[in-house]
Every structure is written in C-alpha cells, then in structure tokens.
Symmetry: C2
Subunit: 408 residues, 2 copies
C-alpha cells in the first residue's frame, strides 16, 4: 500500500512551491537562496526545533506562529542563518510579512527558516524585493519542488527530496518533503531544515504527536559530525485535501499515517547522512540482540559518531577494535565477551569479531566490502531481542576542506 | 618554590628507566616498543584507568596488583594494545613475571600497560626475550627517561616528558613523568598512558586522592577526537626517598604535593593536546564569568571537542558562530545574549562577539592571530565568577590520513 512516488514537497494535493535567487548568497548569483511553500488552504502544522541553547531568530518567531497549531506557508532562505545577528527577529518577521502579503494570509500563518553563516545581519531587503518573483514562480510540479529543494541548500552536494503515497481511512493520502543538511547533523538535528507537506486530514495535536514520534526514529538517528546547530527545524503542514476523516486520536488511521511519515523521514535522513560534508560512504550501523531499543540506539549512535571509526571506513580499514571501543564508551553497560561484529555491503559480508575476540578474516574481502559506498556495521550484543539502526558517514579530507574555510 | 626541571621520569631519587626495541612493532625495527621503570625501593602506588566498558587485559591485571596500594615497577609496550585479544590476561601477567624476575620482586609489585592495535594476540615472547637487555639498560638519566618515553609512543610525533621540583615538609621533593597519547584523547582519557614517579613520602590513600584530584583538572580537560580507548592508564609511584615526613592526611604538605602534581600533569596534558594526531594548533579555551567551575568546564570542553570549531581553527577562520553553537549544545543552560568571545595568540587579541552578537572585527588581524600554533578562545559568560580552561587541537587532513589506515 505504501509506495514511494515523485513530486517531493508538491506531491500532496494543494501544495505549490518555488525557489529563486534573491541575493542572500552574494558569492554565487546562479544559486537559488529563497524558497516558498504554500498550501491552497489552511493547514494543521507542527514543528520540532534544535535543542541548542543558542536558537536562531526564525525559530523564536516560529514558536509564536505555531501557538495556534496552524499555518499556510513556509518561507526559507539559505546563505545566512539569521542567528546571533542584529535585528534577528525583526528580519524573520519581515520575511513572514512579505510572504503573507503576497499570499493574502495573516503573517502569523507563515513559518520562516534560515540556514547559513551565523552572526551576520540578514539582508532581508533582497528577499523582500524578490517576493513577487517568488510568488509568481509557485507551481505544483516536480520542477517546483526541485527548485525549492535547491534554494535551501548550503554545503549540500545533493538535493534531498522524497514523497510517498498510502491509504488512510480508505482515501489516498500523499506526503512529501524537501530537506537540507550535510554537516552538523547529530542526534539533536544539527543544521538541518526539513519541510514536509501532506494532504492528510489530521488535527494539530495528532500531527504534532506523529512528528515527534517520527523524528525520534529518523533524523535523531543520524550523525555526521556531532555538532548541532542553532537553526535546525523540521516542520509539517497538513491541509486535509485528501478528504479522509480527520485523524483526532491514535488508532488505525493514525498508525497508517505515522507509518508513511516514518518511511518518508527515514529516507530523507539516509539521504542526509549519505551527503555528509565530504562523505564517500553511508554507514548504516545496526545493533541487534540488545536488552532494549534505547540501549541499542545509544550504542549504534556511538559507533556512527566515532571519529576514529569514521576515519577507518574512509580508509576501508576493517579496524573493528574501534567499533568495540566506541561501543564501550557509549555509556551503556554490556558484556564485551558476548559481542560479535560483521562488516557488510553489496560486495559481501565479513565477520570480524566473535565473543569479543578478533577472528582471522579475509582482509581482501573486507577491503572490497568497505570500498562500497553503502557500508553496514552489524553488531550482535547477545543480550536480548531488541535492535536499532542508526546512520552516519565517513570523515574525509574534503570534510576538513569544506569546514576549514566556510565563511569565505 | 615550584620549578620545572630536567630528567623526566628519572628526575625523582631512586628511579631508573629504559626503553628498547623488542619486536612488538614488526614494521619498524628501529622503533623502541618496550619500556621499564623501576624504583630502588617499594613505592606507594595508585592509578586511574579508562571508563570504557571494554577494558584491555593489562588494566584488569593492574587492578589486582594495586589492591595493596604498592608497587616497585612498571613495564609497558607499544605496538599492540592487548585488548580484545586471545590470552590477554595471561600475556599481561607474563610481562609482569618476566620483569619481576629480573628485578627480584614479586610479580604483584609490577604494573603493566599496553597500547597499539586492538584485537590481535600480543607476541609476549619477544618481550620476554628482551627483558635481560631492558633490565641491563636501566639508568637514572635524562637519556633513560627519553628512551622509555619513546618506547611507549604510537602515532605520537613528540615524546611527552616533564619534571618538577618543590618543597614538601622542608624537604626537596621531585616528581616527573612520561606520557603518550595523541588520538582518542577525551574527557575520560582516551589511549593515553602516563607514568609518574616521585620521591615524596606519602601514604597509598593520599597518593590515590592526589592522583584523582589532579587527573580531574589536567588529563580530563583535554580532547583530541572524542573517542576514549580501552587501555588508558595514568599511574604514579612514590618511593619516599626525599625523606619528608610521610603525608598521611590532607594539610599543607599534601597541598604542596598536589600543587606540584597538578603543574606536572597540566603540562603533560597540554603536550598531548598539542600533539593531537595531525594537529597544527593547540587550542586553549578558557571560559570565565561562569556560574560554576563545572558549568565552565562543560562549556569549554564542548568548544574544544567541536569538530566544526576544530576545522575552523585549522583554516584560521574566525568563525565564532561555531563557538557559540558548541556552547549551546554543551548541555549547560546560559543566556547567549551575555556571551562575549575573543580569539587570542602571540599575534594579538581580537574580540569577535559581544552580548551574543557579532562585532565588526579586523579580519586580517584575526587571520594572523589564528595562524599561530598556540591559539586561545576566551569566552566570558557574564553570569558569575567561576572559570575553567580546557585544551584541544585542530582537525587536519593528516588526522584522517593517520587514522584511515592505522592497522597497516
């Protein structure tokens, strides 16, 4: 029933999107830097934000705008984070007001996000100037979703976009999203923006519950470099045009909706980890045989976050000692003598450790396995039946190059 | 009164040391790989070990040998960590027994440490074969300390060695140490070995208290890459030959001893951070105006551990937004609008942020400041009178090169 479809953030009925170059990115005038997503009708809306104590101005504005649990549109820019910057909230409000004026809705029904350099004043006037062009460009098409997806990119090499279709209460429901984020992605969602749209009919309380449940098992299970940002935002707009009976409580309809939302967000999370700054490998770490899902998650996250493990995968070096080491400092208690570890990929599967001790393994095969783009680290704890999967990427020379001179 | 002196681990009376090549490091036959440190008389001894759940065999052996709070000698090898390896404890005990036989003391009075690759059997027989040569090489000299210091190095580029002299109870007391560690150094002492010797007369209970207090403000305040290892050990041997009245309780003598031990260990910690794998910069982060020392420490550690901040320092990029960001996800609560940040070095001092907002600063001067080897990040919280300093290093292409292919 659940299937992946095209259309991204415009896959759901009644959503249009656009992306243009306004001039926030001053060094590259061909790069889109402002995105707009608009629903034809009012939406139930919810969002989760960074847990960083230093929160960017747009987040403080969104918290106010979401107080009533509804929204019509999202405006977002890349090139400047509007964090720790002069006139932060004023400029974030000006973005909302300008978009609202074009759409014909109250400014409080517009959400706003920014991503880019911290500490510099956002040139909001160039965004205001380009609102007519942006509004005119709105369309419901794969191209429009693509344009919006590109307009929120910073160091991302690839646009992140997914859409799925499912059935809720006998009606076809669609949902899709665009996201950005390639550095600073960690358990608490570093410099990531994600905008999700759906035509499902669902109450503000239920969409919020669904989003929290989903983020926990998708974006909060990826790690790129352990840093979390001032601007991370994941929001969802649900306009109800699918015509299903409004979901107002947990039950089969809610379950079907959440299943689809999770599939959507896990795929976006994988795309983000895979496009980690400078990354050459997507690392998928599955911890099984654990005493609880929480324990498995803590251990898997520690492995994908370990700089030494990431460097070993970069070098296609089957250095499983680093995997055990990262498990050991995760904070979870376990018996190392029960642990087994496999490295796997499309090229094969190599067990490197059993009962906490090294095995004689085929180094050539291990090298081949770890040379693939998608690499799995599969761990068995021998302690129970729970499991969890987390995603990360390797660390490369390019990561350092990208981040050694980000501002210039 | 307190002054730095030469002699390293042989600075204190009655301590001899040696380092030779035994063949644990098979790929480099000119590299020393076994060290021995021996006191002429029995010592009060204490040690702190890794908090990693996966503990190497030598640590499990040392915990037993230290049960009586005394020791005569330390034997250590590099090239193999004897962790997650076959016959781990048996081989660690064999190292102690071989050294004890040469010295003429019980094997329980010998401590043992290993560092290197995880998961491979330690070729203990080559160490046993070289014990006569090692014992014969024992000497009390700067050269002997140097040889022992080199014999415990792995990816370290520089040997770490310090000694200090002070006065305790009217007597001249000396203490010195050698250490290794350049990667995996984090709050809980990743892959670090540190052997300290002193001729101070002090009880086992007091030497243990002094060591715990000292490690907390020295080695636990450095971070290289956030990974902690299976083998980290810091031990101290006190043989009493200085002739002071034995320290058996906290008081002026204890305070004088701890002051010197802290000076010794802070300097070793700085040397370790400065020699972080591939590092080009020592980063010293001081957080002042904090509500408590604990709060200041948490924030300073978060800054020196931030991969993005480390990459910015590598690029001499005054990207203070990343500093604020790292402070924000430290887990401490604070008011960002009261924060000020300076970058400083021998080349000057540049304030980049006041009241949580960016300042127009001299980018050329900032570049000069950050191009120096020793770089300071000085933060004022505007919340209290407490402060703390932590140390780290930048992340470079070489870090990844070193760790991408460590085993081969």
């Amino acid at each position: 029933m659940l299937k992946f479809i095209d259309g991204g953030v415009c896959a759901a009925q009644g959503f249009r999107a656009a992306g243009v170059h306004a001039g926030v990115k001053t060094h590259a005038d061909w790069k889109k830097d402002v995105a707009l997503i608009v629903s034809d009708v009012d939406c139930a809306a919810a969002a989760v934000f960074t847990k960083n104590v230093v929160k960017a101005a747009p987040i403080r504005v969104d918290l106010q705008h979401l107080a009533d649990g509804k929204a019509r549109a999202v405006i977002a820019n890349s090139g400047n984070a509007n964090a720790c910057a002069p006139q932060g909230e004023e400029n974030a409000e000006r973005m909302c007001a300008a978009a609202a004026k074009a759409i014909g809705c109250p400014p409080e029904d517009v959400l706003v996000s920014s991503t880019g350099v911290i500490g510099q004043r956002l040139r909001v006037e160039v965004i205001e100037e380009h609102i007519p062009e942006l509004y005119k460009a709105l369309a419901r098409s794969a191209e429009a979703s693509d344009a919006a997806g590109h307009a929120i990119m910073t160091t991302d090499l690839a646009k992140k976009e997914v859409a799925v279709e499912t059935t809720v209460g006998g009606k076809t429901v669609r949902m899709g999203g665009i996201a950005k984020g390639s550095g600073m992605i960690h358990p608490n969602m570093g410099t990531m923006l994600c905008f999700l749209t759906t035509d499902c009919a669902i109450s503000p309380a239920m969409i919020k519950a669904a989003l929290l449940e989903t983020v926990k098992v998708s974006f909060n299970r990826i790690s790129v470099d352990g840093d979390t940002s001032t601007n991370d935002t994941c929001c969802v707009l649900a306009n109800g045009l699918a015509g299903n009976a409004v979901i107002t409580e947990k039950g089969p309809d809610y379950a079907a909706f959440v299943e689809a939302l999770k599939a959507l967000c896990v795929e976006l999370a994988r795309q983000m980890a895979s496009d980690g700054e400078g990354a050459r490998h997507l690392i998928t770490c599955t911890v099984g045989g654990a005493k609880s899902e929480e324990s498995a998650e803590t251990i898997a996250k520690s492995v994908v976050s370990s700089t030494l493990t990431k460097a070993a995968i970069f070098g296609a070096d089957a250095n499983w000692g680093r995997v055990l080491c990262a498990m050991g400092y995760s904070g979870e208690d376990f018996d190392p003598d029960k642990v087994s570890v496999h490295f796997a990929s499309a090229a094969g599967d190599v067990q490197v450790c059993a009962d906490g001790r090294g095995l004689d393994f085929d180094e050539d095969l291990a090298k081949k396995v770890l040379t693939e783009h998608d690499v799995e680290i599969n761990i068995s704890m021998g302690e129970g039946a729970a499991s969890c999967t987390c995603w990360g990427c390797d660390i490369t020379y390019d990561y350092i190059k990208i981040n050694g001179d980000y501002r210039t």
